[in-house]
């Protein structure tokens, strides 16, 4: 009985997670309106034309290119800012770790929809040239990714006992830069990959900031596109969702094989 309840619970949850995706797939790839859906018509009208229609949209490729570049630059900025900080804190000033953990949580206090108001007060009036380029989004995306990325990097440093590694290498006479480049960084690849994956997922999904600053990224394109071509829009969204899901799963599994779990939330 107990086992039955457990499995009933798991099956119900699985249905909750899968059914909306199935409904989305049906709407996107089957041209039969839901009103006319009967057992007889259930197999009719399926085609992959909607996704082809989306793929033929040149703006889609432009928006995707923008989003991918944004992700790449955000990862670069995040890693440049946080890797040196995390390493130096861990090996030189470990007592400051709690402070840094708290500081990196701050971006959650000011969510995109709130910060965009502040940006309007400051940058839009004071330095409008800064917001002209779509890449002005990069620092803000790096900001919201920070709670995840810092924790992923910090967890990586803890997992390899970076301080002990540093002291061991130090006792052999290696200079600081050599230790970081040859000993610590190579052992951190797993957490760097995790940080990059989380950042990518965040950038590919962020809508509020891009939309309110009138930048065309993949999410803002999807909303506009869906309003003109409903089915192609849903097909595109489904494909993007599945690609993101597959990419994150691959990263999670790769990390698992190395014995690391991804605390995506950083708690």
């Amino acid at each position: 009985m107990k086992t039955f309840l457990k499995w009933a619970f798991l099956v119900a949850l699985a249905a909750f997670f899968i059914v909306p995706l199935l409904a989305m797939a049906r709407f996107a790839f089957q041209s039969v309106p839901v009103i006319l859906l009967t057992p007889e018509t259930a197999l009719q009208g399926w085609s992959i034309d909607p996704i082809i229609a989306a793929a033929q949209e040149p703006q889609m490729w432009a928006a995707s290119r923008t989003s991918v570049l944004l992700a790449a630059f955000t990862i670069l900025l995040t890693l440049l800012l946080l890797i040196p900080l995390a390493i130096v804190t861990e090996i030189k000033a470990p007592h400051l770790r709690p402070l840094l953990t708290a500081l990196t949580l701050l971006p959650w206090v000011v969510p995109p929809i709130a910060l965009v108001v502040g940006v309007a007060v400051t940058f839009r009036t004071g330095a409008p040239w800064f917001l002209a380029s779509v890449f002005s989004l990069v620092p803000f995306y790096a900001l919201w990714a920070m709670p995840f990325t810092y924790r992923a990097l910090d967890a990586g440093l803890q997992a390899i006992n970076a301080r002990t590694l540093y002291e061991a290498a130090r006792s052999m006479g290696a200079p600081f830069a050599t230790i970081v480049m040859r000993v610590i960084l190579p052992n951190m690849t797993a957490s760097i990959v995790a940080a990059a994956a989380l950042t990518t997922a965040l950038v590919l999904g962020e809508f509020a900031f891009a939309s309110l600053l009138l930048k065309e990224t993949l999410p803002t394109f999807m909303v506009n596109f869906q309003q003109s071509q409903a089915r192609a829009g849903l097909a595109l969204a489904l494909v993007v969702l599945l690609l993101t899901a597959v990419a994150i799963s691959v990263v999670v599994r790769a990390l698992r094989r190395r014995g690391l779990s991804v605390q995506t939330t950083g708690l």
Binding site: K6, P20, L21, P84, K92, L106, T122, L267
Partner: protein, 285 residues
């Protein structure tokens, strides 16, 4: 000339860019908002802050808090239960790795695609709406539509449950088997163990997880916007004021609302950090 210790130099070298980055892109805009909120029209006044909590904006805060609170509690309970159930199931193995990966994915899914999925499922033309109609139930009557309160709750649960699952796992793993064994040897029943030991130890972590869920859904914008751009939720009201299609002077109201949001989230995260400390202290000693 005074020499700077090399450690200090390295410390400054890595800390300064970080501090500059946070100051310029986070603190400067935030302080500007809060400052503007206290000086509507140029003079110091708290009138704006008062107005931000009255009329339709008060309703926005009530709706947003209710939505965030409801999804945090329901999502928290289901997510915690899921983690507890999975802990008792040794096999199948594939289920564990699949669920871990899926949760990492789904907890990030709040956004445009998720909103589309639920329009296709519970919208007026939705598959589930149609299926339930076949058996004579109109789910919209229960507020379950993409624009209704319970519809939004259902949509948000899609990312809240996996998020809670992920944050509950470490807490549940922090429950030591020897606690249960020690209690059993003392003659304590399973119920007594859970009531006096298990649940009290889990409570800070569970509350912390729910607070995180609260913050997460209070700030969520994309899903709500796609489902119902005119909804009376705080993030949507901020957008409305920001886009400037209202009479001049109303942006001061936007600053006031954002100031309240920041205050609320800051308080939640303070409480969250406090609860986490307690959890760590208990599970480590």
């Amino acid at each position: 000339m005074k020499r700077i210790h090399p450690d200090t130099r390295i410390g400054l070298l890595v800390a300064l860019p970080f501090v500059a980055f946070i100051s310029l892109f986070l603190l400067y805009p935030t302080v500007a908002i809060v400052f503007s909120a206290f000086t509507p029209g140029g003079d110091y006044s708290v009138a704006g802050l008062g107005r931000a909590l009255s009329g339709s904006y008060r309703q926005g805060f009530i709706n947003s808090t209710a939505l965030a609170g409801t999804t945090a509690v329901i999502g928290g309970i289901i997510g915690l239960t899921l983690a507890a159930v999975m802990r008792t199931l040794q096999r199948p193995r594939w289920l564990h790795s699949t669920l871990d990966s899926w949760s990492a994915v789904a907890s990030q899914l709040g956004g445009v695609p998720l909103a589309f999925a639920f329009i296709a499922a519970i919208g007026t033309q939705g598959l589930l709406t149609k299926l339930f109609n076949q058996v004579g139930i109109n789910i919209n009557d229960f507020g379950v539509s993409p624009t209704g309160f319970w519809g939004l709750v259902v949509v948000y649960l899609y990312f809240q449950i996996p998020l809670m699952f992920l944050v509950s796992l470490p807490a549940l793993n922090g429950l030591r088997p020897t606690w249960r064994e020690a209690a059993a040897l003392m003659g304590a029943s399973g119920a007594r163990y859970w009531l006096r030991v298990g649940i009290p130890i889990l409570t800070p972590a569970a509350l912390g997880g729910m607070l995180l869920l609260f913050v997460n859904s209070f700030a969520a914008y994309a899903t709500a916007y796609v489902l119902n751009p005119g909804g009376a939720l705080v993030p949507l009201q901020i957008r409305f004021l920001l886009q400037g299609n209202v009479i001049s002077g109303e942006e001061d109201l936007g600053y006031a609302i954002v100031t309240w949001v920041i205050t609320l989230l800051l308080a939640s995260l303070f409480l969250l950090t406090f609860l986490q400390r307690r959890t760590l202290r208990w599970t480590r000693s």
